[in-house]
Amino acid sequence: MRKLDLCLSSEGSEVILATSSDEKHPPENIIDGNPETFWTTTGMFPQEFIIFFHKHVKIERLVIQSYFVRTLRIEKSTSKEPVDFEQWIEKDLIHTEGQLQNEEFVARDGYATYLRFVIISAFDHFASVHSISADGTVISDFA
């Protein structure tokens, strides 16, 4: 089966919820495949966003590029609706001044229809997410 970046909006994925939105830096920037564009949080934590694949996928590897993110929790759902999220990954990231955080997760049990990213805390008043990509395969399209 063809492996691809499942998160890309060009592959049909969509950010269906984000708790912050600056018109100039909307959440769509996370999945546009361009790390130069980004989504910003606009004050106070936690902050979260949900990516919907519009199909059943199996994720093998997940990469998140961000800045100032401290504690990140990722939950996933295999439902057709954005419900029944279960905890998947939680990690404290490291901050290096002036350098984009480039965090890679090798996924176990990567079956999902939705991913929910919760930025629990940050190293500053604001954080940014530049890109999220998920290598994996499409299991099935929605009927």
Binding site: S21, H25, P35, T40, Y67, G98, F123, D124, F126, S128
Partner: protein, 186 residues
Amino acid sequence: MVKLAAKCILAGDPTVGKTALAQIFRSDGAHFQKNYTLTTGVDLVVKTVPVPDTGDSVELFIFDSAGKELFSEMLDKLWESPNVLCLVYDVTSEQSFNSCAKWLEKARAQIPGSSLPGVLVGNKADLAGRRVVDSAQAQAWALGQGLEYFETSVKEMENYEAPFVCLAKQFHHLYQEKVEVFQALV
């Protein structure tokens, strides 16, 4: 257009007028509380403040917590991750002014490594005959600490909005600075 959200902690000795300031700000000058009630836990006042000369705004979550020493242990939890600080003293009380350094230190210790925008507010400016803290002295101290200085009379409803508008402006400025940092990363 962006709407930011900021946790604002209101700090200062008991009876300087923290609650009165928060309440008059919330009610746009409609409500001055004449009787003193000791704040024991925390009151939350939420209000959106437009940032002058922009289409943007800041939703302030003002945590009005107890100034009494007795409740200071609770503050560590209530004051977690502040975004801006509103430090209040009473211009008729030398003690309340002297305590500001302690309050400022306690607030800044909550977010080591990040800057905490703030204002210093001298309240009860209407009590001219009883004033003991000189404006110039307070202003000089505020400047040295990187705080903007305001005098208010909550009782006379004077200047009670300015400190909060200033906090909104400072926080908005900080946001723009960070966005520039994010932009320069890639």
